[in-house]
């Protein structure tokens, strides 16, 4: 028994014999080791084990729960058949909800919950709750088993000829073949998409010299007099239609916003030159990861991106004031054509949207 005392002073080696709490060994051990394992405590009977009336009550509760579940399923079927899908009803405290969705969910939920509650109540009150112990066995094989396996393996390699270098060529060429064959699978992935052409498609947008600027809201080309000082207009290039096959790809690069500032408020000379009488046209695609940065604060001329709060100063070349964006929003050079409409003077000088390796 002395090993037990030591096992508490030192590392427990996991091999200490398990005490099972047999009556006569107990007092003596206790004296030696106050921390000895007293063994599994005796089973304490529940009220259901002692009183048949309590057991009967439990049985009735379980049966009731299962019955409620059946009724709930009937309720589910009735709801499905009877409640119109487009109805909207006020249900306290959830507000205006679809009564179909509500009753399908509640009846299904109840049907499932009661099965669960019944099963758990049954197992807790009526099934035996006596704990028992099972031995664990080491995961590791015994030395004998290991030796036998090693011997089998040695035989196998010997029979195949790989083991002792006699058939090195077979082995090496096999490894070579196995290593190469997955390459076909990788090559097949090449046509998942076209070449990025060094980022060329990311630089090119629909804006060209003379492209009119279409107001998103009205669908009409913008004139300078449409914009009062302090306003912000969202716009896209002329010729881009919602029904176009490549609408999404194009708008993802070409979407712009125009602001009109008092010319003396514009801090950046080049920016002022690229606009028209205080009207500046910026890409609205955030240079961080590409959300539209369109929350505009009139007093400060700040444009805020709602995704990660990058803030751009539109009066100062849209430079980044705050947030994770890495560079300013590109500005589109605009002018007024002979008909008095605002028009682009060319494409963006730098690619709009998030940056990329070849951006430069």
């Amino acid at each position: 028994m002395s090993s037990q005392i030591e096992s508490h002073d030192d590392v427990n080696d996991g091999k200490t014999p398990v005490r099972t709490g047999d009556a006569d060994g107990l007092p003596e051990t206790r004296e030696h080791d106050p921390f000895a394992d007293p063994g599994l405590p005796a089973h304490k009977p529940r009220i259901q084990d002692l009183d048949e009336r309590a057991a009967k009550r439990s049985e009735r509760v379980v049966t009731l729960l299962f019955t409620v579940s059946m009724l709930a399923t009937v309720g589910f079927i009735l709801s499905y058949a009877l409640i119109p899908i487009d109805a909207i009803t006020y249900i306290w405290p959830f507000g205006n909800v679809s009564p179909l969705n509500f009753s399908l969910g509640m009846t299904l939920g109840l049907a499932l919950f009661c099965i669960g509650a019944g099963a758990v109540h049954w197992s807790r009150t009526l099934m035996s709750d006596e704990e028992s112990a099972q031995e664990r066995h080491p995961i590791e094989a015994t030395p004998a088993v290991k030796a036998a396996v090693m011997e089998d393996f040695r035989k196998g390699t010997e029979e195949s000829g790989i083991g002792f270098g006699r058939r090195k060529m077979i082995r090496n060429s096999m490894f070579g073949a196995l290593a190469l064959v997955p390459l076909s699978g990788i090559v097949l992935l090449r046509d998942l998409g076209p070449s990025p052409e060094g980022g060329a498609p990311l630089r090119r947008t629909m804006w060209e010299e003379g492209t009119l600027i279409i107001n998103e809201n009205t669908g009409q080309p913008l004139r300078p007099e449409d914009m009062v000082v302090g306003s912000l207009v969202q716009a896209m290039p002329e010729g881009l239609d919602l029904h176009d096959h490549h609408f999404h790809e194009e708008i993802a690069k070409a979407a712009v916003m125009l602001v009109r500032l008092e010319p003396e408020d514009i801090k950046d000379q080049q920016s002022a030159d690229w606009g028209h009488e205080g009207i500046l046209c910026y890409s609205k695609i955030c240079t961080h990861i590409g959300c539209p940065a369109t929350l505009y604060e009139q007093q400060t001329h700040h444009a805020l991106c709602p995704c990660h709060q990058s803030t751009f100063d539109l009066s100062d070349g849209a430079r980044v004031l705050f947030g994770p964006a890495g560079h300013a929003l590109p500005q589109l050079r605009i002018t007024v054509n002979e008909d008095g409409y605002l028009a682009a003077m060319g494409d963006f000088e730098e690619p709009p949207g998030p940056s990329f390796w070849e951006r430069g």
Binding site: D9, F35, N101, G105, E135, R136, I289, T294, P354, W357
Partner: protein, 547 residues
Amino acid sequence: MSTTTNPPKRETRSGAPAGEKVADWADGRLGVYTVAKSNMRKIFPDHWSFLLGEICLYAFVILLLTGVYLTLFFVPSMAEIEYEGSYIPMQGVLMSEAYASTLNISFDVRGGLLMREIHHWSALLFVVGIFFHMMRVFFTGAFRKPREINWLFGFALLVLAILTGLTGYSLPDDLLSGVGIRFMEGAILSVPVVGTWLQMLVFGGEFPGSLIIPRFFVAHVLLLPGLMLGLLVAHLLLVVYHKHTHFAGPGRTNDNVVGMPLFPVYMAKAGGFFFLVFGVIAMIAATTSINPVWVLGPYRPDQISTNAQPDWYLGFSEGLVRMMPGWEMVIPGGYTLNLGLLVPLIVFPLVFAVIALYPFFEGWVTKDKREHHIAERPRNAPTRTAVGVAWLSWYFVALVAGGNDIWAIHFDLSINAITWWTRISFFVLPVIVFIITRRICLGLQRRDREKVLHGRETGIIKRLPHGEFIEVHEPLSAEKRYALTAHDQPRPAELGPSVDENGVPRKVGPLERLRVRINRGYYGPSGQIPKPTAEEYREITSGHGHH
């Protein structure tokens, strides 16, 4: 005839019940009796924290059931059509078939909305469950030998679950889901050298193209669930093979497992628990709307709403991105390095790797080769517990950063201040939390020691004859005493003598020096409070003394 090699012939009793006949038939082909013999009465220990893993399993089953239902109606196509369904505000709007079919599921299929909501709620529960389950395993040291591989299986399941959630969230093609995809595109583009190539290959062309949803769909309904199913089965087989850990207690040792048999008690409890979880989720789905995709309309790359938030399990990566300053530079050669996105993209997997590889780190530090089947109480492994809580605080900081706009609005703070707080906390908070947690663990160990030696405080105050007041301490039962002293207290590692027995200087590598130092942090005087010895106990109890 080879009858001699057959086992003694077993006759099916003529009057046997139908069930037995079926079982006999199956046994002749599958050997079910042999399987049942070793498993039917297998013992499973009971503890509330062991339910966390079960919750994940049930959430997965619910996801499979509702997910298969959704595939019957969902159209994974980005072809643009005009919406003609019964949701009036969207009638005539141009949208992808994916979005239109999600509206269809929500408004024209009876019970479709419920299935969508159950699917989404269980997806959240699934990832939450995995997370907490993992914490349980971590803090009880249940990842130690022989369970390291199963820890990795579990970790892979976490990663796959997050990916599945991400691809699922992207399927409906509403405004929020499109913003999520755009986020991915931006992140891919920031990869040096091959970023633009990857972007083109993943999207099949320029963003957004028309392939990303069909591709995500296949990943979401086939590839990822298939992988998860395989891993899950392997995970559970290993649980059965290793047998579950249990907490030390009277009769519960490293060499046995104490609990209830699989059949019937565990089966009834676990099976019942599945229905409870499913029922509760159904009721949540009935009453609490989630992801109402019809509110914001179809995705357009030039439109956005405020408060765009990913599902919670991606809040961490969102936070890293929001915390990071917008560093971007052009390196020689004219190439752009977008550190603002690249750094989060690298830190994100690193933070996960820290927790995934911790078991191997601890194994290296302790050089402990024994099998462990006792779930440790977190206080008895102060350093590990402190590492875990510090990691959680790391995660928490990033999560806070992910919702910086929400905090700013609700608590009227400046975004700038929150961002700076998170940037500093990301480095400082884990260290502080580590130190405090270790202190707390040591304090709790000290309290356990007091309890064992001096008994439990009863709250009864007694006045001694000479007027002094003392609190009556009640000695602990043998069971309690055992439970509080059964844990291992390894001795700290030693570098050993600098010369060997022949007087030749021993060489100790720097790695070994480091290991010994860390080990002494774990098991030295600063890392654990010695548990009471039998001598101490006897000395105090024989004096019947209070001091």
